[in-house]
């Protein structure tokens, strides 16, 4: 649905040339939610703004549903932009218009008649849960409500693609959840393709099917979210993933950890679950099969892109050989087992 081919962009600022995007390729399939994550200044904002040509790339092609936007003359580009809706971090609603008027704007621009506008706006406000706010002005709404209005406005002319530019970054966690749920629902109900950029891995984890990491203007790693979380290769990807996993080791326990094995110590093992392995009762199987004890120190389980994923810190105690066998057994079941320390 969206295809970027060798898209590049450089800025010249105060005589210095900065590459915002190195030539990069990106493919977003119809109906999927694709997340691009990166730190600030990595180029993610430039990237998403290249998709609807708010920023014109220096080189490369931007195809939306097969149409190369970079070759279109102004008038056709404006028509094509109606297929590529966008929502923003700061909502960008018109203060001079009511909620109804804001959602009606793209329809007015497209030349719809009054009756069409009234019907469409009413159904969109119903969809985003703001039917009772039609006559309110944006200044009277909360941040989450404003973003709902922006979403309704974005959907007004039935776009093929929705671009989300840090759409939840100005919202509190609870509101963020609600907005993400709404985006997911729209994606499923309308089959709308969504490309979003964010600096929060939690956003990706929550709604994205695929994810790409952008760093210094290049996409360094990408893939389906479940696989990505399980098999991240780059240091940056691992850092982003770690930011969503909170494996805390209690301070009192921390003091008992050593980096070298002693005769009396037990290994502390980090288990990384991915794919369908989680559904199998591997932990209890290991305990029975190898006659060892497992004590869970810390654990987090998540549901990501259709797969369960999790991290667990366990202390193993038993025969030396049995522990080695059990580590191998975990690996056989797609659970990465890594001895991170030894406990007295």
């Amino acid at each position: 649905m969206i295809e970027l081919k060798q898209v590049s962009k450089t800025y010249t600022h105060a005589g210095r040339t900065v590459a915002a995007l190195r030539p990069l390729d990106l493919q977003v399939e119809r109906g999927e939610i694709f997340g691009i994550i990166g730190s600030s200044g990595a180029g993610k904002s430039t990237l998403i703004r290249c998709v609807n040509l708010l920023e014109r790339p220096d080189g490369g092609q931007v195809l939306v549903d097969g149409l190369d936007l970079t070759t279109l003359p102004a008038k056709q580009l404006r028509a094509a932009r109606q297929d590529v809706a966008m929502i923003f971090q700061h909502f960008n609603l018109l203060n001079s218009r009511t909620v109804f008027g804001n959602v009606a704007l793209p329809l007015e621009l497209a030349g719809a008649d009054k009756q069409q506008i009234a019907n469409k706006v009413a159904s969109l406000l119903e969809l985003v849960g703001l039917a009772d706010k039609a006559n309110s002005y944006p200044a009277m709404l909360s941040g989450g409500q404003k973003q709902r209005v922006a979403i309704a406005r974005a959907l007004a002319v039935d776009p093929k693609v929705l671009l989300c530019d840090e759409a939840t970054s100005a919202l509190d966690p609870e509101t963020t959840s609600a907005i993400l749920d709404l985006l997911k629902r729209i994606n499923q109900q309308l089959g709308l393709t969504i490309l979003l950029i964010t600096h929060e891995m939690d956003v990706v984890k929550r709604i994205c099917d695929k994810v790409a990491i952008i760093d210094d203007g290049a996409l360094v790693e990408q893939g389906p979210v479940g696989e990505f979380f399980a098999n991240a290769k780059t240091e940056l990807a691992k850092r982003f993933i770690a930011s969503t996993m909170h494996l805390e080791v209690p301070a009192s326990y921390q003091r008992r950890l050593h980096s070298n094995a002693k005769a009396s110590s037990h290994p502390l093992v980090k288990l990384s679950f991915r794919g369908d392995a989680v559904d199998a009762p591997v932990i209890s199987q290991v305990a029975r099969k190898f006659n060892i004890d497992l004590s869970i120190v810390s654990a987090q389980m998540d549901y990501l892109g259709g797969n369960k994923f999790g991290l667990m810190l366990v202390e193993l105690s038993g025969e030396q050989a049995a522990i080695q066998d059990s580590l191998a057994y975990f690996e056989q079941h797609n659970i990465t087992a890594e001895v991170v320390a030894y406990v007295d």
Binding site: R78, M86, L94, N95
Partner: protein, 217 residues
């Protein structure tokens, strides 16, 4: 008291209202679009034309730098060309307008600068044409600021028009100087001040009320 105050003030007030009203109309008609041009022709703006922007900016600054009393006199030949005469209330409308057009243009430019660039971007992303963006986004969003600019300009026009006596334009300022100063009738001076004060208050109040009614920020 040697002067019959009431008919004198009534006539002068009417003349002031005529000058301010008429020039206000001309100023709004030309100055507001000029303000839009000043804003929109900047680099990175909707109608980016940096060369035109530089020319307009220079002309506006030139207009703003000439003291009104000088403009009033310097424009006499031009006024005669436009109105047919350089004396009288109608004739004053010409320098008043030319003096205030650059003034309101800068104020309107300032009002437009207040509009977040994100709004213009949102309009662009929706596929709005430049004209649609101006009409449906920029103008309505900047309207409270534009009305405020008009109010400030009208008040300035009231004060400019007080100098109209210099070219026989009449009005409250003229009465104040001629009767109050040259003929030592302080009560006339006080009366004109009171009327001017009331006029300015009224303009400001109406302007503020209008802004309150349409401002939803």
């Amino acid at each position: 008291m040697s002067t019959d105050l009431f008919p004198l003030l009534l006539k002068a007030t009417w003349q002031t209202l005529q000058m301010v009203g008429l020039s206000g109309l001309v100023v709004a008609l030309f100055g507001i679009p000029l303000g839009f041009l000043l804003h929109l022709t900047k680099a990175e703006q909707l109608l980016a034309m940096p060369w035109l922007n530089r020319i307009l900016g220079t002309v506006v600054n030139a207009g703003r730098s000439i003291p009104f009393i000088i403009l009033l006199v310097a424009l006499i030949p031009f006024t005669r060309f436009v109105v047919g005469t350089s004396i009288g209330t109608m004739a004053v409308v010409v320098p008043l307008s030319i003096g205030a057009i650059p003034f309101i243009a800068r104020l309107v430019e300032g009002a437009l600068l207040e509009i977040p660039s994100g709004l213009m971007e949102a309009a662009e992303a929706m596929g709005a044409s430049p004209w649609q963006t101006i009409r449906k986004v920029l103008l309505p969003e900047a309207l409270p600021g534009i009305i405020n600019s008009i109010t400030i300009t009208l008040v300035t026009l009231v004060s400019y028009s007080a100098m109209a006596g210099a070219v026989g334009g009449g009005g409250l300022g003229d009465v104040g100087i001629r009767y109050g100063y040259y003929r030592f009738e302080p009560e006339v001076m006080v009366a004109t001040i009171v009327v001017l004060l009331a006029l300015v208050q009224l303009i400001q109040m109406l302007g503020d009320a209008l802004v309150r009614a349409i401002d939803h920020r």
